[in-house]
Amino acid sequence: MQKITREQLIDKAVSLLSDGTVECVLGWEKGQFDYDITPAVFNDENELRENFVWNDFCGANFSKYLVSKTRKCNGKMLVFLKPCDTYSFNQLLTEHRFDREKVYAVGIPCEGMADIDKIKAACGDGIISIDASGDKLNVHTLYSDEPISVSAESVFAERCMNCKSKKHVAYDELLGEDGDVIESHRFDEVAEIEAMTPDERFAFWQNELSRCIRCNACRDACPACTCEKCVFDNPNSGVENKAAANSFEEKMFHIIRAFHVAGRCTDCGECSRVCPQHIPLHLLNRKFIKDINSFYGDYQAGAEVGTRAPLVDYTTDDLEPGEVFERGGDNA
């Protein structure tokens, strides 16, 4: 259950709207069920009181929306940022993708977001409603008379199980308490794959990437993917494709996408969250982050505004490309 309540957020938004600090609010809008929440812009108190929600399913990272939404808004826009969203926020600012003056950022604590697919796996289909109490989620379904209770932690999204930070790195105002950067185990799975033989690694990724339907959701949800025109959408690029005609094109898309965000990816986990086919795309991004940390020193994209990303930087004694295999672990 989230520590901060919906009412607290609405009250904050209403007071900022009424004193003229902000003109509109970027928030979460309730859906048909308790878990299908849509990002939306709210303009007044009525809309907020009626449709604004804040619960364990507000996973969407708002930072990317700021790029397009602040252009439409004349005054300031209020945005609520969870700790991991603030890293994307800073990274976008570093890349000058939106005007900081047009945003009023309120940091809100996050206790971890639930993955509805995990809940469905645990409780079955036919979910009528979900309510939270303490560290439990009570799931009411069509097929059981009593609500099914699951611990919130057991149905955390992958990125929340491996949460890297509860600390807000950017905000104008903070609601609740700030947390700390967490020693996470987020690279463990990468290390497991590195420890496989090349044949096993190839088979692993062939299996994962072959499920790709090229819907581009990973790219379109990614706060680092903010190109106005993606090379894979551009018929003049020579590599545009709307469907992976074979296994090469699947790999090409995912390697190039991961490479393009290498050093800029904050590991917010949106790519894996939105993938309709459950491809663990974060494992590609984390490989780059892990390599960057080990080759060029620890670097967390978005931790500060204005830092130089590792791929637009160098030192004269960087390791040679031929040496990466010795440094990458004992996976010969």
Binding site: G31, Q32, F33, Y35, D36, I37, T38, P39, A40, V41, A60, Y65, A121, G124, D125, G126, I127, I128, L142, Y143, I213, R214, C215, N216, A217, R219, D220, A221, K229, D233, P235, E240, N241, K242, A243, A244, A245, R273, V274, P276, Q277, H278
Partner: protein
């Protein structure tokens, strides 16, 4: 109607697989169902439905249409078409069976799409009645009865038995082959199940959803509805909804230069994409709002306009489950359809 015990189902699959390639929903390692080829030991998934729709069987995501080979001033055209082999798709839900009707009206109308009709002619569909509809189901909105699925053969599964009924000649011929493994029976158990499931259908959260506000002739009324702005506000422009949809049928035809020749292929396209239906003058729908509106107007207004009022949505609920921002056709129908849909 014929029946067999649940234990015998594997022998039935084996019998079918003797003469046909047999595909059915199978759980992958993450527990998500997808259509896979049956072989000894492959288990039929318990999931309500597959993540991807079965439209791939007749309208695959990519397929080669023809090839060209150039030598000097000559261009040789290579026909890549082959007669499809006979295959059986088992376990298709009522909603997805209906989607084939919708695709047929597009691809089998004159001029007939020979690639599609080739596969359609060689495919046998065995549908399965639903027993545990999900909260995302709304097939009833489009007049589909999940307890009475169409297809060449309809199947009902109870706790201990599987009931079979053929609906077409193709289906009857296949059921004939299964004579030894099945026995004649009455429909009592099936009727019992139908009654139970119909009662559940009434309790679904979307039970009251109707499409009354939509349909042929509503273009003028709905095209400029102010709600499109807010509905499309959060749309990311990805193609998830269109690619998992059983009825989305738009495609693009492209040439690929292999270095030794040219392959002309077709692949699914999505009206959500910036390059959709791009012409020499550019893309006719410049904003995401227009692209978003196109998808829903096509399903709920334009398609019925051209097809005797038939909607091109079957209420399978995939887009409700998979949209990254949880915007979907139900929210559109409720917002634009007005208060009575709430």
């Amino acid at each position: 109607m014929r029946k067999c015990s649940l234990e015998k189902l594997d022998s039935v699959f084996a019998e079918i697989a003797n003469s046909f390639k047999l595909y059915l929903p199978v759980d992958d390692k993450d527990g998500k169902a997808k259509y896979s080829e049956w072989a000894e030991g492959v288990k039929w998934s318990n999931a309500l439905n597959t993540v991807r729709s079965p439209k791939d069987f007749f309208f695959p995501q990519t397929e080669d249409l023809m090839g060209f080979k150039c030598s000097g001033k000559n261009i040789e055209i290579i026909d890549t078409r082959n007669e499809s082999e006979d295959f059986v798709v088992f376990g298709v839900r009522a909603c997805d069976v209906k989607s084939f009707d919708i695709l047929d009206r597009v691809f089998l109308k004159d001029p007939v799409d020979s690639y599609y009709s080739n596969r359609r002619d060689h495919g046998i569909i065995i549908s399965v009645a639903c027993t545990r509809p999900a909260e995302t189901c709304f097939c009833h909105t489009f007049g589909i009865d999940p307890t009475e699925p169409a297809g060449d053969i309809s199947v009902w599964k109870t706790d201990s038995e599987v009931f079979w009924q053929s609906n077409t000649e193709k289906g009857a011929a296949l059921l004939e082959k299964l004579q030894a493994l099945t026995e004649e029976c009455d429909a009592d158990a099936v009727n019992d199940q139908k009654e139970k499931v119909s009662a559940i259908m009434k309790k679904l959260p979307l039970a009251g959803l109707t499409a009354d506000k939509f349909g042929a002739g509503k273009t003028k009324e709905l095209f400029d509805a102010p709600e499109w702005d807010s509905l499309s506000e959060a749309c990311l422009g990805c193609g998830t909804c269109t690619f998992i949809c059983p009825t989305c049928q738009c495609y693009d035809i492209k040439d690929f230069n292999t270095g030794k020749g040219v392959v002309r292929f077709r692949c699914w396209d999505s009206c959500m994409y910036s390059e959709f239906t791009k012409m020499s003058a550019g893309q006719p729908r410049l904003t995401q709002k227009e692209r978003f509106r196109q998808r829903f107007m096509h399903k709920l207004v334009y398609y019925p306009e051209n097809n005797d009022g038939l909607f091109s949505c079957v209420g399978c609920g995939r887009c409700l489950a998979k949209c990254p921002i949880s915007m979907n056709i139900v929210k559109v129908m409720k917002t634009i359809g007005g208060k009575e849909n709430e």
